[in-house]
């Protein structure tokens, strides 16, 4: 009986295991292998070159730019997706009657494809008729060419940050609604002010939600691709590259599979490292992972 049950369980698991082995575990190992080879244009020839790709990577100025840009992105998401979304959630929590309206509006950019958002912002930044230049001329300014080497990364990251503010807003709002109202009521009796309430009650009570959100936004920074691809495609002159866009270009536009694989490996290692360091830092020994 038990053996039969076990057979059934394994049979049910089989399709998932096969797919994961073929398209997740095996390719992961293969990417690690490719990263130690010189391999061009998806040819049949891979030459083992040890750590050479990684050595090149350390010296590659574009990788340095990509890492700096990832740092800028991290600062942006922490400031806006965590900070500003938290402020919005606390503010909305005070207005009972129309919080649903705000939730609907704030969340909808998440549903839209990042490709569409990328194209939308490309059009907003356009010189002749872009929305941004329209507002500039409205207030008496001069039209500008917005995307250049200095500004590209910031302009490409605005939509990235903008899109997900509503996401964390909803997460925080759910967290706030889970805080027991008893705590607020007794604080109200003590005559607490709204700002004090936010700083001394709401934020500390949201600790575990905040921790997991911070880990999520920061590790998510390594996965950003679509919007950058659409708005600047890493340019001009690689000034707005992220590791993701750079890896894609190396592999599929310039056919350097070995080097692209080493970038991919760096992406996972950094992602896992940043995630575990943040977890350690933020969890002062309390529950919940």
């Amino acid at each position: 009986m038990k053996a039969k049950r076990q057979r059934t369980a394994i049979l049910f698991l089989l399709p998932a295991v096969v797919l994961l082995l073929c398209f997740m575990i095996y390719p992961l190992g293969k990417t690690i292998y490719y990263s130690f080879t010189a391999w061009y244009n998806f040819s049949a020839v891979q030459t083992f070159i040890g750590l050479d790709n990684y050595k090149d990577l350390i010296r590659d100025p574009v990788v340095r730019t990509a890492l700096r840009n990832t740092g800028i992105l991290m600062a942006g998401v922490l400031l806006f997706q965590i900070g500003f979304a938290l402020i919005l959630a606390i503010l909305v929590d005070g207005v009972r009657h129309c919080f649903k309206f705000f939730r609907t509006i704030y969340f909808f950019p998440i549903v839209i494809s990042a490709t569409a958002i990328g194209l939308m912002f490309t059009l907003i930044y356009k010189y002749e008729y872009g929305l941004l230049n329209y507002f500039i001329t409205l207030f008496g300014g001069e039209k500008q060419v917005w995307i250049n080497e200095k500004t590209s990364i910031y302009l490409a990251l605005i939509p990235v940050v903008w899109q997900y503010v509503g996401f964390y807003f909803v997460i925080f709002l759910t967290g706030i609604s889970n805080i027991s109202s008893d705590i607020y009521e007794s604080a109200m009796l003590d005559g607490i002010r709204p700002v004090q309430k936010a700083v001394y009650i709401t934020v500390p009570m949201l600790r575990s939600v905040l921790t997991s959100s911070i880990v999520l936004v920061v590790s998510g920074c390594f996965k950003v691709f679509d919007i950058i691809f659409m708005v600047t495609n890493g340019g001009p002159l690689d000034s707005s590259q992220l590791l993701s866009t750079y890896m894609y270009q190396k592999a599929f536009a310039r056919g350097n599979g070995g080097y692209a694989s080493s970038i991919a490996i760096v992406m996972i290692v950094l992602g896992v490292a940043v995630t575990s360091v943040l977890r350690k830092m933020l969890q002062g020994g309390d529950e919940d992972a």
């Binding site: 049910f12 797919l19 398209f23 293969k30 008729y129 509503g166 996401f167 996972i268």
Partner: protein, 282 residues
């Protein structure tokens, strides 16, 4: 004294609404601008990028729907074939796996859990190049399945994790009664566990559909044939192909996002639940 206190409170309230409405406007205005411009000719847009159209005209929409190489209507069909298959595939395969992990308890079950969590940490970039090589060797090359299979694999871990958690929380009594009556595991799955897990299947299905519909990268990498590519890949090429036909670009954006906005309007709670549950997805 009291008056001043009241004035302060009112000012705080007004400031609060200003901040809230400001952010609402930043999300609405760009989209509204695209919508309005999609009904204008490109000359109109260049002349005045913000004005309402002189006459509402659908030329842009007709252009993108029948553009020979980048037909949006064909891309739509592709999108629904691909994302529909991905949803069906994930629900079936993840459903079976979750039933196995969630309703049977063996010693190895907890190792399977650990493997699933580890898989969540693997980004699609890390598997993309070898998968591209594998796909180009398989007979599925050049068909919709070339994008469908990797997308199913990419969504599995996360879906199994969610479904397993849900199925574990279901009571045992019903299963046991059915098994004593001689029901097969497949019968228990289809007649007891699946119906009870419907809300979680719906969440997973919606999340996977949205994710797949919006996924640019995998479709771009695994599907090189223009005639099989989904909406977002076509959209990504629009700005290069249409050159200065801004009106058509605006219309293409609107057409791309309408299906998901409709889904969002119809079942907002489900969509929000699905996407926030999918937060951990790799």
């Amino acid at each position: 004294m009291l008056e001043a206190e009241k004035g302060k409170e009112l000012a705080a309230r007004i400031l609060k609404y200003i901040i809230l409405i400001f952010w609402a406007l930043t999300t609405i205005i760009p989209l509204l601008w695209v919508l309005i411009n999609s009904f204008k000719t490109s000359e109109e847009i260049v002349k005045n990028g913000i004005a309402f159209p002189a006459t509402i005209q659908f030329t842009n929409y007709k252009t993108i729907m029948s553009y020979p190489d980048l037909s949006m209507s064909r891309a739509f069909l592709n999108s629904f074939i691909i994302s529909g298959s991905v949803v069906i595939g994930v629900v079936l395969i993840a459903g079976l796996a979750a039933f196995s992990l969630g309703r049977f308890r063996f010693k190895w079950t907890k190792y399977a859990d650990a493997v699933l969590i580890a898989c969540l940490l693997v980004p699609s970039f890390a598997t993309m190049i070898p998968n591209f090589v594998t796909i180009s060797k398989l007979p599925v090359r050049g068909t919709h399945a070339a994008a469908v299979i990797p997308q199913i694999a990419g969504n599995l871990c996360f879906s199994i994790t969610l479904l397993t958690g849900f199925m574990r929380s279901l009571p045992d009594e019903l299963d046991e009664a059915a098994i004593i009556d001689g029901a097969s595991p497949l019968y228990v799955l289809t007649h007891i566990t699946m119906p009870l897990s419907k809300p979680m299947f719906a969440t997973v299905g919606i999340m996977v559909f949205i994710w797949s519909y919006n996924d640019l990268l995998t479709s771009m990498v695994y599907l090189s044939q223009r005639s099989k590519q989904p909406v977002c890949v076509i959209l990504s090429m629009v700005s290069n192909m249409f050159g200065t036909d801004y009106g058509s670009m605006m219309a293409a954006i609107i057409v791309t996002i309408v299906p998901l906005l409709v889904l969002y309007v119809i079942s907002q709670e489900q969509v929000i639940k699905g996407l926030t549950a999918g937060a951990v997805k790799g």
